[in-house]
Amino acid sequence: MRTNEQMISDLKEIVKPYIQNQHGFDSLTEETDFINDLKINSANLVDVVLDIEDKFDIEIDNDSMDKMLNVKAALEIIETKLSEK
């Protein structure tokens, strides 16, 4: 079982290639919003989700994908999907 810190650190690694605001990335917390704080292009959110699927070996359905707009929501969805495995 991963700790919350490990999960955030994994997620940080995943979003890193897509961010366009370094400051937002450096100070990333659970409250960080992917688009507003990290300036990730909305089209790239799809790629973030695919990278999450690969990393955690889960499948994220369309409804969950729509909700994955910030770190907190992403963590919750990952945990839910992991627990369903």
């Binding site: 290639p17 799809v46 790629d47 695919l50």
Partner: protein
């Protein structure tokens, strides 16, 4: 009043040279960019040679961000962006923070991201449409190259891609020219690009229009105007020019490579001897004559013709059409050359790469050589004196170059470049 249109920047990604300096050096010294490719042999191609520009991973990173290169697999967009960004920089133009509504692009392509498209099709057929990611559309839409360039440079005028087979590059130049002439834009980045490799070239191999006689001697494979011409050698790359109203160029006090005096595009309607794959000679001659008339010059004013001349049996037909349209022959015929002898036929990119070469001749004062035609086709020399088909580069002051391209669909384009004179 109609604007005069000048060329203020150029960029090129060619099989025998990437960047204006390397390319200029290569064409003056007759360097070949044609090589043997083992993947073509493994795939069972009859023609296993071709022209592919050398672009290192390091060079890519001078033009694209890591994010842009993530899941990037479009050689055409790669070449087009490098050539286009180089032309922009060469013209002394900065990348604007806000949209530049006076500048646009017509950047042509035959296909876009054909390798990316293949990747996507494999995933799709495997039931994995949701795993395609966000990058398929931008790289495979026909207008991919102009969309990338528009975003990188912040272009706010017309941003589009034209497509007319092997006439694409020449047509793009004339479309940008028309727009500036009409006062609808101050600057137009014009050019064209072609993807590389088997998935573009396979259809031509199947038509048996590529040479299969030079797999052991690739550099001798592309033989325009030669008696032993046996089909064309496929190529790839991109060429680009910044066209600008004379007024804007003078205001910016920038280098002017040449002026575009005019030109013409038309089609033979696939009538008479014209077809999907062969030109209607009447239309070709009309296109050339109309370009000359549009440029307000006389046929005898042309110093050099840069032909389409692909190294098929149609080379003689082309020469005959030039000769009849200009009503010039023998030693009165202008000098004529074909860049395809060095780089092969770069398909949708050919018109723009060859136009960059044409303009370099005016700017630097030379006529680049025709390689691989030591055995000139006798039908051709019955119309044009041998000395007008230089086999070694000639240093000479050049005033006017006529450049033509012809493409599948029976489409033609001819543009007239002239040394700039206030």
């Amino acid at each position: 009043m109609e604007n005069r249109v000048v060329i203020t920047g150029m960029g090129v990604v060619a099989p025998n040279g990437v960047g204006l300096e390397a390319f200029s050096n290569a064409i003056q010294h007759g360097l070949s960019g044609v090589k043997f490719f083992s993947n073509l042999k493994e795939l069972g191609f009859s023609c296993c040679i071709g022209g592919i520009p050398t672009v290192s991973e390091e060079l890519k990173r001078e033009y694209f961000t890591e994010l842009q290169l993530k899941n990037f697999n479009s050689s055409g967009i790669l070449y087009g962006c490098i050539a286009g960004m180089d032309a922009w920089k060469d013209a002394g133009l900065a990348i604007s923070e806000s949209a530049d509504f006076d500048s646009g692009t017509v950047f042509g392509a035959g296909t876009s991201g054909i390798d990316k498209f293949r990747e996507a099709i494999y995933k799709l057929d495997d039931g994995k449409v949701r795993r395609l990611g966000s990058t398929v559309v931008a790289q495979t839409m026909a207008s991919g190259v102009s969309a990338y360039l528009g975003g990188i440079l912040g272009l706010g005028n017309q941003v589009t891609t034209n497509s007319s087979a092997c006439t694409t590059g020449t047509e793009a130049i004339l479309m940008g020219y028309d727009r500036i002439k009409a006062g609808k834009a101050k600057r137009m980045l014009v050019g064209s690009t072609s993807d590389n490799g088997p998935y573009v070239w396979g259809g031509f191999d199947a038509m048996r229009v590529l040479t299969y006689k030079h797999n052991e001697s690739p550099e001798q494979g592309s033989r325009p105007m030669s008696a032993s011409a046996s089909g064309f050698v496929p190529g790839s790359g991109a060429g680009a020019m910044v066209l600008e109203s004379l007024e804007s160029a003078l205001e910016r006090n920038t280098t002017i490579y040449a002026e575009i005096l005019g030109g013409n595009v038309n089609s033979g309607g696939q009538r008479n001897e014209g077809s999907m794959t062969a030109p209607n000679s009447d239309a070709v001659q009309r296109c050339i004559s109309a370009a000359i008339k549009n440029a307000k010059i006389e046929p005898k004013d042309i110093d050099v013709i840069n032909g389409h001349l692909t190294a098929t049996s149609k080379d003689f037909t082309e020469i005959k059409n030039w000769s009849e349209a200009l009503d010039l022959k023998g030693s009165n015929f202008p000098y004529i050359n074909s860049l395809k002898s060095m780089i092969g036929h770069c398909l949708s990119a050919s018109g723009s790469i060859e136009s960059v070469a044409s303009v370099l001749q005016i700017k630097k004062g030379f006529i680049f050589q025709n390689s691989n035609c030591e055995d000139l086709n006798e039908e051709i020399t019955s119309l044009v004196s041998k000395e007008k088909i230089p086999q070694k580069t000639i240093k000479k002051d050049i005033n006017i170059v006529a450049k033509a391209s012809f493409g599948f669909g029976d489409v033609n384009g001819c543009v007239i470049f002239k040394k700039f004179d206030r």
